[in-house]
Amino acid sequence: MANDTQKLQRHAGVDRLFHWVTAVTLTLLLATSLLPILGVRFAWYGVHWVAGIVLTLIILLHIVRALFWQRPGSMLLTAADFSARGAGKYTLAQKLMHLGWTLAVLVAIVTGLLLLRKAGVSFMTRDPYAYSPGTWGFVTLLHDLSALLSVFLVLVHVYFAILPEKRAYLRAMVSGFITRRDLAAEHDVERVERGE
């Protein structure tokens, strides 16, 4: 019988680095966009677009790594997620959280890159007439909606991360490891080891 305290690797170092750099850039992006709306006045735009470019680059690296070095199927919703059996590497809730972040971040990146053209940055000439005012409005609306979804997701994500019974996942995102006992609480260890 396997030792309950045996440590299993859950996240490689590069994936933990990706997670925490994403967390810092998203915090910067939300702070620099929402604090001025809440009445805190400062020169927010420089930090905002630089953090946005950093987020874009690390998301591109994450997509390449997920597709070619990891098992992207382990993050997809499957019929097995709705059965009573233990989860694979990720639980249904974790997959839904990832899906929410995927939507929020990809919309923010695509619309943010378009908006750089409207506002101008050091490496791109400002051209507010590239699109009609209505089109800019629609792009801004999508960018705003991604920010609102991010506010919701940050609250829920941080809540579940610090919940005592879910603390093993937070420890795994710091150290990279989870014990077999902690994993077995919600996962089928055999499914995890098969890469599901």
């Binding site: 209505g134 801004t140 705003d144 609102l148 609250l155 809540y159």
Partner: protein, 56 residues
């Protein structure tokens, strides 16, 4: 109260500017808080139920 912000272009036409932050930012925040409170209630009820089951 509007869900969206509107302005006017150079010709005076009404154009979309984005979401109405004063309405939707609190909605996003309180929706997150509602999920947290809902889960805390569910968690407390489930723990109470399993506590009674173990106590029998």
């Amino acid at each position: 109260m509007n869900l969206l912000r509107f302005g006017h272009d150079a010709y005076g036409e009404r154009v979309l500017n984005g979401v109405a932050w004063e309405l939707l930012l609190p909605v996003a925040f309180w929706a997150g808080v509602a999920v947290i409170v809902g889960h805390l209630i569910y968690r407390a009820l489930r723990r109470g139920k399993s506590g009674r089951t173990h106590g029998q």
